[in-house]
Structures are given as structure tokens and as C-alpha cells.
């Protein structure tokens, strides 16, 4: 060994190969897409909130005005309390429901699993519309409310609980699925009572999942626009305030201020949740033995009753929307007809908006999946360039913290500016696709990342040693192996593109009206039955897409059975 001073030897400057260049440039390109699609619009919105109507810098004057107007800042408390109440209700119900699905021998589990996911197929507006028919002024079950009006907090809470339920359920099911049977065996061996076992083993095991689900539910309800728009009446929420300021009063500055107020708790919840999730990883790293539930007549029957009630409530919401859509003239002529499906006779863009939605969803699924998966691949499998990869990872996570309404409004400020080179996108199908991809980027990105991490880390090393360009291995190995995850990403993007209202409500044009926005506009114009009909069209489209996705996935697995093996 040499005794040379190590400070004297110059540090090594690696030569970049062709692969490295292509990968880094591609990653920078996708990173720039995220900058343009998320960061710059947000910046435009922040600066807008500090300006007056003519674009002069005002400082915090708009915020001062906001907090000096009780009608405006009261919405903060309204939004907070609605979100908190909904969170408590949804998490409680979702926990019991998930417990029944994972820890008991209740019959018909698969039915309950499917029914619980039904709200994912529908725009959040659908819950509100159904509630009008159930409990509205001419509702069939109005008497149940005992004189209280459904138009207001009660309606918002019920409607919100309906559509966020599956989001919470998926997380809680995951949390309850990974508990360790050995802990329960130990508890039984120590003669622990069932209640104590539940409190000391079950609950702590699901703790992080419950916290995570709570944040998701809170953020979704807090920033949701569809339900309060339809059923909120005069009860002001932050999300509806943004819409009213911008669309109603054309007060873009105040709209930007409310958006920032809306963004703040969402950001906070986002960072707390990420912090909690980081701790969860350490907790679950041990190899666990899966728990096999044992039959217990009393518990199983109680759970069956509970889940049946929940499932009936969900189906009741969906069923009422479908029934109302088919009825000639509620509540006076209950004959069935397809009159409400003649969308071309109503406001909202007619059947065109439905087909626009399908086009938009297909583009989003196609381009979104390609961009997201390739981006995730570059981050996960690229070599060196640590700073660039960390920056990309950050850019990919940010969209999760940005409510759709905020993103949509930010797009107006950014893309409508005539000086913006991307101005040509404004009022096109392109901007809707860009916005929707950006809006749902994070979850897709995490799905892709998880799938990529499950692949052998040395594939790239081996293929480099065999002189294969990275794109060859990407196409021949990575994509085929990750195909199930890629299909998952595309169906996720498709369904969200079909159902989303919040982000696109500000940026659709008369040529690019969308079905979900049409639901809102028809409802606004009093054409509630056609709104319900359109909402159901979305639901059926998503259901069909889901079935196609299931068949494709099954086909992929069957075709690749030979090598998936085991």
C-alpha cells in the first residue's frame, strides 16, 4: 500500500455513457413537465394573491381583507368542523368494516368488498344528488330528518362520508392485513381477554394505518368541492368560496387568497402524514405470520348485520341516483323513461361532454401512465445524479398536497397569461390532460416506484455488463415484469379523470366540456334528474373500464404464468 497523502490524489470524474445522458436528459424533461404543470402555476397563484386587480404588488393586503370579512373566514371553521366530523364517522365505520373483512369469518366478504368500492366509480357530486332525492324538499325520507334541512352541514357530512369511505377503507384494510398471528397466539397463551387483546394488539398494530387514513379523509373532505356545491345550500365552505369568488364574482385575487388558505391545512396534513408513514416502515419490517381468522358465531353475525347496513346505505345512494335518472318527473310522475338522458336538450354540453370525458380519460391514462412509469423508472434505476433524482422525487410527491381546486385555479393564472409560451394550451383538451395527470401524479408515481423496487436491483448492472442499452432492458424486461402495476396506474388515472370535478372546473372550455362538470352545471341549473343520469353514465363507464382492466390483468397473469411461477 502506498503511503501517499490521499489529499494529493485528484477526485475521480466519471465519464458519462450514452445511457447516462439519455436517462438524465429524460428525467430532466419529465421533471420540467412537473415544474410547468405544478410548481409554476402554484407560484403564479401565490403571487396573484399578493396583487390587486391591475396586477400591482399589494403585499398581504388581500389576506388582511380576507380575515376582516367574517363571511369569508368563517368558512375556515365550517370546513374544519365538517372535515373533522366526517373523519371521525368515516374512520370508525371503515375500521369496523375492514375488521369484519380481515379478522372475522363473516360470509359474503367478496360482495362487501366490491360494494364498498362502488363510490370510487362515481363523481363526488353523485352522493349530493342522491341526498336531494332522499332527504331534499321533495325527498322520500325527508321526515327522518325531523325538520332539519339536508341542505347544509348534515348533507355535506353524509355526502362526504359516502364518497371518501372507500379511500379510508383501502388503507385500513391494508393496515389490518399485516398483523402478526404470533402476537395473538402469545396473547392467548397468556390468557388475555379478547377486549384486552383488541386494545393492546389489534389497535396498536393498525395505529399508523388509522392515522394515515384519517389524514387522507380529512384532506379529501376539507378540499372537496363537489358535495358542498350540490348539497351545501348557504353553508359556506372554503372550496365553494373559491368557486364563488372566481366564477361568481370574477374576483381572482380573493379566489387566490382563499386557495392559499385551503392549501395550508392540506400541506400540513400532508407533511404530518409523511412523517407518520416514515415511522411505520420501521414498525412493520419484521417478518410476520399472517393471521387466519377463526369462526365466532356472535361476532360474525354482528359484523354481517353491520356491513349489510353500510352496504345498503352505499347502494341506496347509487340506486336512488339511478332511479331518479329514470323517473319522468319527480315526484309527480314516477313513470320510467329515458328522457333525462337527452343531454343535448340541456345545459352542460350534452352528450359531447360525455365523449369529451372519455377522450380526456383515455389520453390521461395513456400519456399519464407512460410519463409516470418512465419517470419512476429513471428515479429508481438511474445511476449517480443524486441531486437530480432527489429533486425529481420531491416534484413527484408535491401534487398529492395540492387540492384539485387550487391546481385548477392556479392553471388559470399561469396558462391564461398571454406572455406564457404555454398559453397555446389554454382552453384545449391538452391542458385538461396535463392538469389531470399532474393532479393524480403522486399516487401513480408511488405505485410505479413500489413495483420497480420489487425488481432485482442488479438487472441494470447486468444489462450494462452485457452492453445492452438501458432502453432495451426497459422494454424487454422492466415493462413486461411491471405490467400489472402499469395497468393499475392506467385504470387509476382513467377513473379519476372520469370523475374529477375540482381541478378541471376552472379550465374546461365550451369545446371541451366534461361529463363530471356537466353534472355540476345541470344540477346548478335545476336539472337534477339529468345530472343524476349523467353521473350514472360516468359510473357505468368506470365500471366497464374496471371490468376491462380486471380481464386484462387476468390475461397478463395467465399469459405470463410460466415465468411468474412458484
Amino acid at each position: 500500500m502506498s503511503a501517499k497523502d490521499s489529499a494529493a490524489t485528484p477526485p475521480l470524474k466519471p465519464v458519462l455513457g450514452r445511457d447516462d445522458w439519455i436517462m438524465r436528459l429524460s428525467m430532466v424533461a419529465i421533471g420540467l413537465f412537473l415544474v410547468v404543470a405544478v410548481m409554476l402555476p402554484l407560484y403564479a397563484m401565490l403571487s396573484k394573491s399578493l396583487e390587486d386587480k391591475d396586477g400591482n404588488f399589494l403585499g398581504l393586503a388581500n389576506y388582511a381583507e380576507y380575515f376582516a370579512t367574517p363571511a369569508l373566514f368563517n368558512s375556515i371553521f365550517n370546513s374544519l368542523s365538517i372535515a373533522l366530523i366526517s373523519t371521525v364517522v368515516v374512520i370508525t365505520v371503515a375500521f369496523i368494516y375492514a375488521y369484519a373483512l380481515t379478522r372475522t369469518c363473516m360470509p359474503f366478504k367478496w360482495v362487501f368488498r366490491i360494494v364498498a368500492l362502488v363510490p370510487l366509480l362515481t363523481p363526488s357530486l353523485l352522493g349530493g344528488i342522491s341526498l336531494v332525492y332522499w332527504f331534499g324538499n321533495q325527498g322520500v325520507a325527508k321526515a327522518l330528518l325531523g325538520g332539519e334541512s339536508i341542505y347544509g352541514p348534515i348533507g355535506i357530512v353524509i355526502g362526504s362520508c359516502y364518497w371518501v369511505f372507500p379511500h379510508a377503507l383501502i388503507i385500513v384494510i391494508t393496515a389490518l392485513s399485516i398483523s402478526d398471528a404470533r402476537l395473538y397466539e402469545a396473547a392467548t397463551a397468556l390468557r388475555t381477554t379478547r377486549l384486552r387483546t383488541f386494545l393492546t394488539v389489534t389497535l396498536p398494530g393498525a395505529r399508523y394505518g388509522l392515522i394515515s387514513a384519517s389524514f387522507v379523509v380529512f384532506t379529501l373532505v376539507f378540499t372537496d368541492f363537489g358535495v358542498p356545491k350540490v348539497i351545501g345550500g348557504n353553508y359556506n365552505m372554503l372550496a365553494t368560496d373559491v368557486y364563488k369568488q372566481v366564477i361568481g364574482q370574477q374576483n381572482f385575487q380573493m379566489g387566490a387568497v382563499v386557495s392559499v388558505v385551503l392549501l395550508a391545512p392540506a400541506l400540513l396534513a400532508f407533511f404530518v402524514d409523511r412523517w407518520v408513514q416514515r415511522r411505520q416502515v420501521a414498525l412493520l419490517s419484521a417478518r410476520a405470520v399472517p393471521l387466519q381468522p377463526k369462526p365466532d358465531r356472535r361476532v360474525d353475525i354482528a359484523m354481517l348485520i353491520f356491513c349489510t347496513i353500510v352496504a345498503l346505505l352505499i347502494l341506496g345512494m347509487l340506486g336512488m341516483a339511478q332511479y331518479a335518472a329514470l323517473v319522468k318527473f319527480w315526484p309527480y310522475n314516477l313513470e320510467l323513461s329515458l328522457n333525462n338522458y337527452r343531454f343535448d336538450l340541456m345545459d352542460g354540453g350534452g352528450w359531447d361532454s360525455y365523449f369529451n370525458s372519455i377522450r380526456m380519460a383515455l389520453y390521461t391514462a395513456l400519456f399519464g401512465t407512460v410519463i409516470v412509469f418512465f419517470g419512476a423508472y429513471l428515479v429508481e434505476k438511474g445511476r449517480g445524479f443524486r441531486t437530480g433524482r432527489m429533486a425529481f422525487q420531491f416534484l413527484a410527491i408535491v401534487p398529492l398536497a395540492v387540492p384539485g381546486l387550487v391546481l385548477g385555479l392556479a392553471y388559470i393564472f399561469f396558462f391564461n397569461n398571454p406572455d406564457n409560451p404555454f398559453n397555446f394550451l389554454y382552453q384545449t383538451m391538452g391542458i385538461l390532460v396535463v392538469c389531470t395527470v399532474a393532479h393524480f401524479y403522486t399516487v401513480s408515481h408511488l405505485t410505479a416506484t413500489t413495483a420497480l423496487q420489487q425488481m432485482d436491483a442488479e438487472f441494470e448492472s447486468v444489462s450494462a455488463s452485457l452492453k445492452a442499452p438501458f432502453y432495451r432492458t426497459f422494454a424487454k424486461v422492466t415493462v413486461p415484469v411491471c405490467l400489472p402495476a402499469i395497468l393499475d396506474i392506467s385504470i387509476y388515472l382513467f377513473m379519476n379523470a372520469m370523475t374529477t370535478v375540482s381541478a378541471v372546473v376552472f379550465i374546461y372550455s365550451t369545446d371541451t366540456t366534461l361529463a363530471s362538470v356537466a353534472v355540476m352545471n345541470m344540477d346548478d341549473a335545476g336539472a337534477i334528474a339529468p345530472a343524476a343520469a349523467m353521473a350514472m353514465m360516468i359510473a357505468y363507464t368506470c365500471a366497464i373500464a374496471r371490468i376491462i382492466h380486471a380481464l386484462l390483468s387476468k390475461g397478463v397473469v395467465a399469459r405470463t404464468q410460466a415465468w411468474r411461477g412458484r
Binding site: S2, S461, K467, K476
Partner: protein
Amino acid sequence: MSESAPYLCVTDVTKKFGDFTALSEVSLLVNEGEFVCFLGPSGCGKTTLLRAIAGLDFQTSGRIEQAGKDISNLPPALRDFGIVFQSYALFPNLSVKANVAYGLENRRMPRADINRRVDELLGLVSLADQGSKYPSQLSGGQQQRVALARALAPSPGLLLLDEPLSALDAKVRVRLRGEIRELQQRLGVTTIMVTHDQEEALSMADRIVVMDHGCIEQVGTPEEIYSTPATPFVADFIGAMNFLPGMASAGHVQIGKAGFIAETPTGLVGKPVIAAIRPEDIQLQGVESGGGNVVDAVIRSMEFLGTFYRVDLKCAAFGDVDLFADMSPNMVRRQNLVTGKELPVRFPPELMRIFPGRGA
């Protein structure tokens, strides 16, 4: 070692991860056709060194030359090597044949030549009839042979093996290490293997590079490493070793109250040392109490380990230090060794090693 220029020259290679130094100015020469093992405990830097040679993780500083060409800062795609990983890293969706052909297809070789080469390699690793199967349908040992065939297919100048046998069952491991060694000798490909298993290194390598804490402790043939370890670390890591603290004088070492004749390095005369002797080198047949290099011992316990007994001896002269001796079952029976038995043992002077002691 050799008259011709070495095939691989590693000069002053240092690798730092932040404040942590994984490799500290490592220098090494590997000759053409040689089989070299990097051996050491986990975290000693052996894999880091292998990955630097492959270009998979660049060293912080230092120079690496292969076949006379400076490759220090080249990406892996511009280097000339084949690599096999512990995890096999076989492409799961490609058949065995397609896996082996993967590297050949990147060289615009005619299809017929590719097929011929693939068949030839599958024959070499005795998997000629398994070509159309997928990796998940093969056993671990078969999968690793496919990985080997894939790495060798483009005839690389250098074969890198990163713990290739660690994921396999003990029996398969022993068989495969013989096969790899035979294949390597047949093809004459320069090979570097990383392992933490001393038996693997001793049985396969032409030369072993023992590493610890990012430094090379010793480079030598398996026999050299085993019989003349350069440091107490090497002595301890490879095989078993008794370490006895003592004082050195010229040609003599004093351990506790007992004195022994031994080869003492001149630099250590008059200093505290550690005398080392392997358990299997301790003699008891035909040893007389009071003879040269003999010390009296009592058997405290005996552990049966299949091919031999490990005998835990207590020597009054050494104080608290335990002494272990390995005895064949045959010897144990003949000498009637049982717990509590008193017997004299001898340390052959030529088999004792003297290392610097603490504070030397």
C-alpha cells in the same frame, strides 16, 4: 509473480461515503487467467472494490487499469467484464436461452451464431436440456449456472462473481464451487470473486486478498494465507487460532510462566507480543512433561464436531487464557481423552506465529 504485465492494476483506490471510508488507498495486481478471491467480513469493502472494478459504483479517487487501458472513469457499458450476483438477477420473463443470448444480441451477431454459442454455454454448465424453461422453474443452483453462462457468453476479459454461492444450500454450494473453478480453468478467464466464506476462498482461489475495514490485510496463495498469516486478523479470520499474550526475546517467547522456542521477528524482541498457534497444530502424541516447548494442561471440556473434537484446555502456566486443541476422534479414543484428564501438550516452534502485542 509473473513476467508479463498484470491484467488488472488497481492503484490507490479510495471510496468514501460521506465521512465513512469504505476503501482506503487499496492497490492490487491481478494476472491474466488468475482466480482471485476478495475475502473478509461484511463491511470490509470487498464488494465496494468489486463494484469499483466493474464501474457500477465509482471510487472517490484512484486508478484502475484493465489490459493496459485506464478504465477508472468509464461507465460499466464501456468496460469489458461479465458479472454474476448472489441474487442471480436473471430476467424472469425471458427463457434460459434468451437470458444467455441477451448479451450476444447486443453485438449484432448472426442469429445462427448466437444459437450455437448459447448451446455451447448451456452445455458447459450442464443445462443443455433446460434452455426453454423460465428461471423460476429452475433450482437455485441451476439458476446460478444460467447466470454464469449469461455472463460468460460474450467472452468477457474479466469475470466478476459477487458472493455467487451465498444464497445456495450447503451441498449445492460445494458442488457448484468445484464446477465454477473447473470452468474458469478451462476457459482461462481472469476471475475475481467476492466471498465471506473462507472455505470457498481457500478451495477455489489462486490467490486470496484478505480485507478488513477498507484495507488489504494480506495477499497470497491459500497455503500462504493459512500457514503464514501476516496479521492476527488474518490468522483469526481464516481457520481457528489460539492467541496467547506474552513477551518476546531472541528466538524465544515467554507465555505466562512457560517459555517457548519460536521464530521471533527481530523488531519485536523485548516487546509484548501475541503468540499464535492453530488448534490442529498442538501436539500431544509422544509428548513428555518437562520437554522442550511443552506445557502441562487439564481438559476442561470437549466438543464433538463430527470430523474432530475441539478440546478446551486449561494450562496453569498461562493463567486465565484458554487453549483450544483439535483432536481426531481416533486420537481421542487412543489417548483416552476425557474431561479432567491431565496431559502435557507441545507447540511445534515452526508452527508458532509471533505478532506484535498490545502496546508494542
